[in-house]
């Protein structure tokens, strides 16, 4: 059966999927920072009819300018470090970073450290961690939903917490090479 768009609603009922929630959304920009392509394949299927992430208001957007969350796969190879930072800098506040898959989380890394990198945490502040090699589409969907729920139920409060970017800089890690390239401080408020 070809899953025509007009049949999607019926398919959802047949598969026992819940009705889409209203009033919330999450725009995701994916960046492959050196994965084995497994995370990409599973992320692609998270938008396929079996999971249909779009019904929760979660969609992959074409530009970081339109994104709420930067979803990063791979260990951040030396050649993807700058493009990743450029994508992060292009995002409007408030912005979140999610590390997708074990390579992005810095576990079980293969390759030489200089070329392969050591995980997203060393480059950007990470708000959500999605483990797995690769994480299954259902796990990706669940983690993104948790992120969206967490972000929406948090009560606005003045930004008093230390900002992770600067905290890490204080610990000696350098985020970027020069003035003007530092990501703007995050203004996402936490309860």
């Amino acid at each position: 059966m070809l899953t025509l768009l007009r049949d999607l609603r019926r398919r959802r009922l047949e598969l026992g999927l819940t009705a889409p929630d209203r009033g919330r959304s999450l725009a995701v920009r994916h960046v492959d920072a050196g994965s084995c392509n497994g995370c990409e394949h599973e992320l692609t299927l998270a938008s396929s009819p079996y999971y249909d992430l779009q019904r929760f208001g979660i969609g992959v957007v074409a530009s970081p300018r339109h994104a709420d969350v930067l979803l990063v796969t791979g260990p951040v190879t030396s050649r993807m470090r700058e493009p990743l930072l450029a994508a992060y800098r292009a995002m409007p506040e408030p912005r979140l970073v999610a590390a997708l898959g074990d390579c992005a989380l810095g576990c079980g890394l293969l390759g030489l450290p200089r070329e392969a990198g050591s995980g997203v945490e060393d480059v950007l502040p990470v708000d959500a961690r999605i483990p797995g090699c690769p994480p299954e589409p259902a796990a990706i969907a669940a983690a993104l939903l948790e992120l969206i729920d967490g972000a929406s139920v948090r009560r606005p409060a003045p930004a008093a917490l230390p900002r992770p970017v600067e905290a890490r800089r204080a610990n000696g890690a350098s985020l970027s090479s020069g003035p003007g390239t530092r990501p703007r401080a995050r203004r996402r408020r936490r309860s």
Partner: protein, 460 residues
């Protein structure tokens, strides 16, 4: 030093093909892998003297990338390879790695490394006039993890992870090529049961990949009904993998010197039922695609690869077979259970997007047939046997969903000295760039998806 070129020249005249070139021994030696007409392999080596070694690129244009990679990663200069453009090195300016295109109204469009969808990272530089592509320069290796170098010094067993994780989409093919290369070096023979189980795993991998690739072409023209249908089938195929072997991409199912996969009667029966459902779902979806004219109108005459260009570029896999070149490692895979195999051929191998899509369909039908005959009973763990001569070198060749993947290992005892993995994607990227010229820029995503190559195992 000159003997290397002469030996290879003579071999090529005798019908051997240069399948790959790599630097070994920290750039002090260059080795060429030659493949004979019935699948036999041999390595020819040349010392690197004064940082230089003769090039083979005029004898075998298909190994252009190999020599550029050996130069960038090991500093070997190839005499006669002019210009030796950078491939892995990213530090050089535009004029070093692009072809100069000048003329009235010509301009460049830079795309990537980050793309608009869920796509791997790589940079494309289009030289265009209006919407017409004059030339495409690709710059990949953004995902280079130095896997081959990192694998050196590991044990042969540990090295498997480096081949397997080069790429999830071809993980089984790369793992089997690596395992075969190690077994070749260790003098191990694969008994029939081991050939049988590896062939099943390879065909399961091909099934989900080809379903995924058909979905990708549908997505490439924005045909949601088709991409949804085939994405759902891809999901079911990956669930089948998880049910059979505990992993959706079949990670961890291949080992050096044996297989630990065991399947009972019930598991095999249930897998056969799922495959039957997948097959009928595929047939139904494929029939619908055939009669959707707005979809079909986008495919013919786009991204056409001629048989002559496919031969000189060394195109492999479904892309080569869609251009009428019947190369398929499965025809000569003595270490696998492909007795009597003949490559699937379509009625009109026109080498365009339509032909590459149809090639996936005829091969899927063949894969379902192979799995039907291979999954004929329970499977149990099996080990390879001693008995063949041991060697410092080993070679394994496998047909991945994207074409010939080969692995060359050099060992010192049980330790890996050099791992070289050359996958179907690596072989075919130059073809993608070549066929883009002359097409419309908005058709490039479609052309790219009709090859559906991995960046991960090309970059390693």
């Amino acid at each position: 030093m000159s003997g290397y070129r002469e030996r290879v020249t003579a071999a090529v005249a005798d019908g051997w093909r240069v399948a790959g070139v790599h630097a070994a021994d920290e750039g002090r030696t260059v080795r060429a892998l030659l493949v004979g007409e019935s699948g036999e392999t041999r390595l020819e080596s040349s010392p690197v003297v004064g940082g230089e070694c003769p090039s083979l690129v005029d004898l075998a244009p298909a190994i252009g990338w190999d020599e550029r990679e050996a130069h960038d990663l090991y500093g070997v200069r190839f005499a006669g390879h002019e210009p030796l453009r950078p491939l892995v090195t990213h530090d050089l300016t535009l004029r070093h790695w692009t072809v100069g295109v000048r003329g009235h109204d010509s301009y460049q469009i830079a795309v990537g490394p980050i793309h608009a969808g869920v796509i791997e990272s790589g940079h494309f530089r289009f030289h265009v006039v209006g919407d017409r592509i004059l030339h495409l320069d690709t710059r990949l290796f953004y995902k280079h993890r130095a896997l081959e170098r990192a694998a050196a010094g590991r044990t042969l067993d540990e090295g498997l992870a480096y081949a397997a994780r080069a790429c999830a989409a071809c993980a089984v093919a790369s793992s089997v090529a690596y395992a075969q290369a190690c077994e070749d070096a260790l003098g191990l023979r694969a008994p029939d049961e081991l050939r049988h189980v590896r062939t099943i795993l390879l065909e399961l991998e091909r099934a989900w990949n080809h379903l995924n690739d058909i979905a990708a072409v549908c997505a490439g023209v924005g045909f949601a009904a088709g991409s949804n249908h085939f994405a759902a089938l891809t999901e079911e195929a990956r669930r089948l993998n998880a049910g059979l072997a505990g992993h959706r991409f079949l990670f961890g199912t291949v080992a050096v010197g044996g297989s630990s996969l065991s399947l009972g009667v019930d598991a095999v029966r249930s897998a056969r039922e799922t495959l039957e459902r997948l097959r009928s779902g595929f047939n139904e979806g494929w029939r619908t695609l055939q009669f959707d004219h707005s979809f079909q109108d986008r495919l013919p005459g786009v991204g056409t690869l001629s048989p002559g260009d496919a031969r000189s570029l060394g195109t492999v896999g479904p892309a080569a077979r869609a251009a009428g070149i019947g190369v398929d490692v499965r025809s000569v895979a003595k270490q696998l259970a492909y007795e009597g195999f003949a490559p699937a051929a379509q009625a009109r191998p026109t080498g365009d997007v339509r032909a590459r899509l149809e090639q996936r369909a005829v091969e899927l039908e063949q894969t379902f047939g192979l799995l039907d005959s291979l999954l004929d009973g329970p499977l149990s763990a099996v080990a390879a046997r001693n008995g063949a001569a041991t060697n410092r070198f080993g070679v394994g060749r496998v047909e991945s969903p994207r074409g010939e993947t080969h692995c060359v290992v050099e060992r010192a005892g049980s330790q890996l000295e050099r791992l070289r993995l050359r996958t179907g994607s690596y072989a075919n990227w130059p073809s993608v760039a070549h066929v883009a010229a002359g097409n419309l820029l908005p058709d490039f995503p479609l052309i790219n998806k009709s090859f559906e190559l991995c960046y991960a195992c090309a970059d390693r």
